[in-house]
């Protein structure tokens, strides 16, 4: 599977989480946004070391 697809998914998860972290007012929901950003980082970090 191509690296670009995985990184695109990671970028999507990161951007959705960023939206949540910026737009939510309660601390628990901001946490959920941060978790989603972390999810994106996990996906990217899992795929990146294997290279192209």
């Amino acid at each position: 599977m191509s690296l670009q697809l995985f990184l695109l998914l990671a970028a999507g998860l990161f951007a959705i989480g960023l939206y949540g972290a910026l737009s939510q007012q309660s601390i628990v929901m901001i946490m959920m946004g941060l978790e989603l950003m972390l999810n994106g980082v996990i996906v990217a970090a899992g795929r990146l070391p294997t290279g192209r």
Partner: protein, 185 residues
Amino acid sequence: MIAIFWVLAPLAAASGFMVFRFSSMARATIALLVSFLASGALLILLGLGYLGVVVILMMVMEMIIMAVFMIAYMMNPAGLMPMSMTHNKPRARAISVTSFLLLAAGIFAVPWPPRAGAPPASPTFQLGAALMGSQMLTMVTLGFVLLATMVTAIVLATHRGRYDRFGDDLKRRPAADPAQGGVGM
């Protein structure tokens, strides 16, 4: 492989999106859990079995705790009364879309290098050896520090217990409270 990716990746993204669309806090938490489960399964698909299982186990436990907090502390946990707990949505959306487009442009613009070197023989075994070998003392100390912190926090939070309120035989009525009128009069 690629078929499983095309099932899991949209699932991860869509359930992540639904976290901020659901009104019910329990549903939002479960949507986030589904997103994490899908990315954990993707890690397993990549051959990172240990990491994937750790993500899945960790996130199941975390989301159970999160759901309890959400239902306990949110103003509108079930989403039965329509209310908005958001602010500045248009600008947040603009920032998020812009950052996604920038990241996507970077993903397709960068000439990604092929893998340099070979993966270690058994990374899970090496991790276990590091944690249980040279770092054993650190982990044991950390465990005791965490336990002591939890006990201390509970002791500090409950410095007035039922024996302070109702006497040694728990028979004093009304309870000896600084302010009268509490529970268990």
